[in-house]
Symmetry: C2
Subunit: 292 residues, 2 copies
């Protein structure tokens, strides 16, 4: 595979090609769960996958569309690592793509799931986010992105959650889904793990007495959030080490889930990295062109 030349590779021009059909099926959650695979689209995200050493099972290239030298370099790197490459026409690529203005590059990647029992023991600064029944893949992706930005370890999904490997979640995560750890758990397993490991579980609730800015986000920490439709059940709040609320003065009485999680994670960040104190800069800190 790795040493085939462009001339030897056949360009797939049929949307009904078996491999193309199999890849297209990965848009559906059921097929992703059956195969343990998911799709990563676009030069930036495929670049993250390759750079982070994700288990890339195949790479799909539309030579007509992929004119970026960086993108072509990625394809070469993947091929050197022995990743099978599929060349397709622009029309076939469009049938796989979920983006406007497809860039002609897509990767099939193996999902990574961790088990609570095999997570590393808490380090001093460890933070996890646990989400109860998160429904919106865009929210889940945004939360993974915030976790990544503040240096959290990952997300524990409790209850019936949306799929973090949904294309919308992958895109909203800006690749953080490839870097953050993902765990599925039920409440008994979660609280057992937390109590054995000495994790402090802080639950968010509009009915909590404590203002989040006055809470102790002692380390190691799990921030537990309710889903979009309803907050955390009372019996879950009672099992938390502490509960906090985000104060609101206006008309609206709740925040978007990703926004609320971001506000809390930046309070955790504040307690660990007070303003004015030196810290290890993130990858993007020195890049003045990045959006924020």
């Amino acid at each position: 595979v790795g040493d085939s030349t462009a001339a030897e590779r056949a360009l797939i021009t049929s949307k009904n090609n078996r491999k193309v059909v199999d890849i297209r099926k990965l848009r559906a959650r059921k097929e992703r769960e059956l195969t343990g695979l998911f799709l990563v689209e676009g030069i930036r995200l495929v670049g993250e996958a390759v750079q982070l050493g994700a288990d890339v099972k195949a790479i799909v290239v539309a030579p007509e569309l992929l004119d970026s030298p960086f993108g072509r370099g990625l394809v070469e790197t993947a091929e050197e690592r022995g990743v099978p490459r599929l060349d397709v026409s622009a029309g076939v690529f469009a049938s796989l793509s979920l983006r406007e203005g497809p860039q002609g590059l897509l990767a099939v990647v193996r999902q990574r799931w961790a088990e609570l029992g095999s997570l590393p023991p808490p380090a001093e600064e460890s933070v996890w986010v646990a989400l109860d029944s998160v429904q919106d893949p865009g929210n889940l992706g945004s939360i993974l992105r915030t976790c990544d930005a503040v240096g959290a370890s990952g997300v524990i999904l409790i209850g019936g959650a949306t799929d973090p490997y949904d294309p919308t979640a992958v895109r909203a995560s800006m690749g953080s889904v490839l870097a953050q750890s993902l765990v599925r758990a039920d409440y008994d397993g979660f609280f057992n793990w937390a109590s054995r490991g000495g994790w402090r579980v802080v639950g968010a609730s509009g009915g909590a007495v404590t203002d989040y800015r006055q809470a102790d986000f002692g380390k190691p920490l799990v921030v537990l959030m309710g889903g979009e439709r309803q907050g955390l059940p009372e019996e879950v709040l009672q099992r938390c080490d502490a509960t906090v609320r985000i104060p609101m003065t206006g008309r609206c009485d709740s925040l978007n889930l990703a926004v609320a999680t971001g506000v809390l994670l930046y309070e955790v960040f504040r307690q660990r990295h007070p303003p004015g104190q030196e810290m290890r800069p993130g990858r993007g800190e020195s890049d003045p062109a990045r959006p924020l």
Copy 2:
């Protein structure tokens, strides 16, 4: 209209009924801009529209679907105010609805747009958010919701922005689009207005030197955010009174726009309402069942 009885009202059963077709067209931005109208769907949101005194032009009811007494009460209230009512079959309603599990209630509401020149002069606590080229209606709706929660005045849309009256934005705003002020402006008009009114404009940028937690969010304030695709242009940053960045220690070098705006607005909130200080509770503060 107001005193017609159920027996007198005809049930519309055709999706091609002229009024139904006109209402369905309001899903498209072009038609919303032509007519100045937009759609509000669901019992909760229609309830907000009626309670906030929005200019409701028509109400669409699917009697087969609308079984909530609160929903039926809303229809009565609207009718008492002289709002025309359209009764449609469940099938016709489904052809108008963008929700799963439609509740059988929808309102056609007049958009409200304010002009910079006619905004009230700044009060001591005034906060606005200005957004450059916001693209995602979900982000815009979430930002309106956060503005509402922290008691901000509204959103100023600069450049080519998505439509705050897009159904996705309306839903993501949880009705805040009905309560917050909306303004469209270009940069010259915006900075002229800000400078004449004595507004402090703080721009967000990944390349800024000042940590947002050490910034002066002096009153009255406008928080200016770049769009999802690229940050604020350098020439715009130079016109700001101050620029701030959100620190990041992890791998990811940016946040979702709604999350970043939320983190900044809650820092503004902190400077105006320090933790532990009494404040006027919001509508939802006393409701322990609300999600957050």
